[in-house]
């Protein structure tokens, strides 16, 4: 059964390489996108920590900043 699935009537190399290429492309795109997202989150966190108290309070009052902060480690400090 397994060897039949692997062999695919002699087309195994073509079928499996197509599926592997697709899954590899998916993984690469996902991880590259994830790295970029995490980099921007860390960038945001670093900049937020460097704000003085007044500016940090202004930022915290804005809905979008609050939403971003809820996903950074700053919110857990």
């Amino acid at each position: 059964m397994i060897s039949e699935i692997l062999n695919m009537n002699g087309y195994g190399l073509y079928v499996w390489s197509s599926f592997m290429f697709t899954l590899l492309s998916f993984s690469t795109l996902y991880f590259v996108t994830k790295i970029q997202l995490n980099k921007e989150l860390k960038n945001f966190e670093a900049k937020f920590k460097n704000l003085d108290i007044d500016k940090a309070e202004i930022a915290k009052k804005q809905e979008t900043y609050r939403e971003i902060l809820s996903n950074t480690s700053t919110s857990k400090i």
Binding site: G10, S25, L37, T64, Y65
Partner: protein
């Protein structure tokens, strides 16, 4: 209606949706792979090589669909100057491009056992390659200019000009004599594919669509963060 695309509302939705879509994508992909590689029957002519269809066709459909959306949004960008349309277009392009590459590579692999060649300069394949070039130009246009206004204009013109290629890709197999087979799945004509093959094709298309939504959400989130990072500098 455009208020739904408000960044703060969108961020809330993105954060909630991202994990849910990822889990759903994994579940649908596993089901689709099982259907495509194990349960679906072999073709009477192409034998098991037909299984390549389950990754090739959804990738081609989605890359074409994403480019059409980018082109339509580009009209909106030029006419209404809507900044969210710019972010949406930028966030859609990478997954569209990757799907286009998957369609080209898997098509090439499928071509070898069925046509006896990895590549042929026929209308469908060439127009798909041209679509990849349009995707590449669209993404590069954001990196060429320092001035964002120039990038916005150039990328919009590229997407609108590239829209001409979309019907050429779709109807190339009807307009010209090509190696590529005509469409088996049709909306307005009779679908000629058997239900036992249509089912895994549908599931794999759903999995690919979920993946493109996931990448879009992550990219859109990244683009919003870039803007917010600039905003922090200005506080």
């Amino acid at each position: 209606m455009l208020n739904y695309f408000n960044p703060s509302n969108t961020l809330k939705v993105i954060n909630k949706l991202q994990k849910f879509i990822f889990a759903l994508f994994i579940a649908v992909l596993i089901l689709g792979l099982f259907e495509a590689l194990v349960l679906s029957p072999e073709d009477y002519k192409q034998s098991d090589s037909v299984r390549i269809m389950y990754v090739h066709v959804p990738a081609a459909w989605i890359s074409l669909g994403i480019f059409s959306v980018i082109s339509i949004l580009s009209f909106g960008i030029l006419i209404f100057k809507n900044k969210n349309f710019i972010l949406i277009s930028k966030s859609l392009a990478p997954s569209g491009f990757v799907f286009n590459i998957i369609a080209l590579v898997t098509g090439s692999i499928w071509g070898k056992p069925t046509w006896g060649t990895w590549w042929a300069w026929d209308a469908r394949i060439t127009s798909m390659l041209l679509l990849a070039v349009f995707y590449l130009m669209f993404m590069m246009s954001w990196k060429i200019f320092e001035d964002e206004k120039k990038s916005i204009k150039l990328s919009s013109y590229i997407a609108i000009f590239g829209l001409i290629n979309v019907p050429i890709v779709k109807f190339s197999v009807d307009w010209w004599s090509t190696l590529h087979q005509p469409s088996s799945v049709n909306v307005f004509k009779e679908t000629t594919i058997h239900s036992t093959m249509l089912m895994p094709l549908g599931i794999m298309t759903a999995a690919f669509a979920l993946f493109s939504i996931l990448i879009f959400l992550m990219k859109y989130h990244t683009e919003l963060l870039k803007i917010k990072n600039k905003g922090l500098e200005r506080l």
